[in-house]
Symmetry: C2
DNA sequence: CCGAGAAAAATGATCGATCATTTTTCACTG
DNA sequence: CAGTGAAAAATGATCGATCATTTTTCTCGG
């Protein structure tokens, strides 16, 4: 018998990669924090190799900083980098959105509406503890933003936006960890969605840019914390 | 005494990473080729770990494809992906150039002129063997293209362009390996440079886009070869 | 007490052995 | 002879020991 969708049991390295990634993006591993390999392999009760492999992937991705013979640390953050990143997001998403609106068919429209709906519905925080953010929210949030550019016609473009989104996600989570968060991004998402399906290109871009900029503004007020920790 | 610029001896993993990367980008490792870890560690006379670490970095970068429990292979290529990639390059470079021209000062202009000059001067192939491309050329070529966007004001943007450039570089080298190469990109670079320092924004973008598209066109004619090998 | 330099400790990098999974081989059945 | 499934081989993943480098601690002369 042929096993059509051969189940791929992930390797230890891959599992650890995902866990570490979550911890970095989620902000529980602070910028600049030393990533001691023996400690980590202890935490995940594995050998050294899988941890190293995971760290190598993360360093290629830019989430972890690697210095030969000096190991790994969580990539530091800074206000200039946040500004830099936000600028890049505005620019790249602008093209993605512009092209998507031009090329997007009904299916695209529906995907945007659907992901926006899900985002509106999903609770921002866990039902039992109002201070812990709902991890599913992050997924749905990203889905929405990615849906906007999904019809642009280039996967390289989509990957690029994804990468930028993740980097920004880390800043957002750091800010939240320091007690700063948006008033209600829900309405903004709604507005963006409406403008997108109405094909009001310039409006979408304007809304999206200020959406990005406003987040960056908020985050800036607290990133200093991360920098202090980044010894 | 304080050692100001503490010389960092690269680890084996880092060296192997660079070598593998060159072989993939340079086209000596064909798309889809199996990357056997024992063989590689033999080739580089090292243990298994450094090779694995190098491969993990390359897989995070997208140059190598990793499947859990099935090892690594060189990332396959395809005509659709080349088109996709070229599109992304046109879009992203357009913004980079536009912003650079707007913000670039004299220093930027000089950097563009300088790198273009170097590109004009450096021999395309090795002096002793006219069929072997000069590895320095690739460096200088990339420098030129990166210089065009270097004043855009966002390192994330510059990194993105760099990533896209490298991906395209692999396609170029594969085409060359199959005997296809540009008539004379030298003149095109010259034209682009002139237009850039003259701040003829729209012209630069037009030239750059057709520069990218023309290369992609050529490459397409032979990429099929790579796909056949990618078994 | 300060700082230079040696010794010790900690940590990172590498190795080869071993375990797990996948792929290939091959004998057998129908 | 094709197809099945068990064994064998090949290959990938992981482990812990060991080696190399960096960081910390300690000692001592000034």
């Amino acid at each position: 018998m042929v096993n059509a969708a051969l189940e791929q049991r992930p390797t230890r390295a891959s599992s650890i990669y995902l866990l570490l990634r979550d911890d970095i993006l989620g902000g529980s591993l602070l910028p600049g924090a030393k990533l001691n390999i023996r400690d980590l392999s202890n935490t995940y009760s594995s050998g050294l190799s899988p941890v190293r492999e995971a760290l190598n992937r993360l360093s290629a991705e830019g989430l972890v900083l690697q210095e030969d013979n000096r190991g790994f640390k969580v990539q530091p953050v800074s206000v200039p980098e946040l500004i830099d990143l936000t600028q890049a997001r505005c620019w790249v998403n602008e093209i993605g959105v512009r092209e998507s609106i031009e090329k997007g068919d009904t299916e695209w429209e529906e995907a945007v509406i659907l992901s926006c709906h899900r985002l509106k519905r999903i609770p921002r925080f866990l039902p039992d503890d109002e201070t812990v953010p709902n991890p599913k929210w992050a997924v749905v949030h990203k889905d929405f933003h990615q849906s906007l550019i999904s019809a642009c016609g280039s996967n390289w473009m989509i990957d690029t936006c994804s990468r930028l989104f993740d980097a920004a996600e880390r800043y957002r989570n750091l800010a939240r960890g320091a007690g700063v968060s948006r008033s209600d991004p829900r309405d903004e998402h709604q507005e963006i969605m409406s403008a997108a399906v109405d094909r009001k290109t310039d409006l979408v871009i304007e809304l999206l840019n200020s959406h990005f900029q406003r987040t960056a503004q908020l985050v800036q007020t607290v990133v200093v914390v991360g920098e202090e920790d980044a010894v």
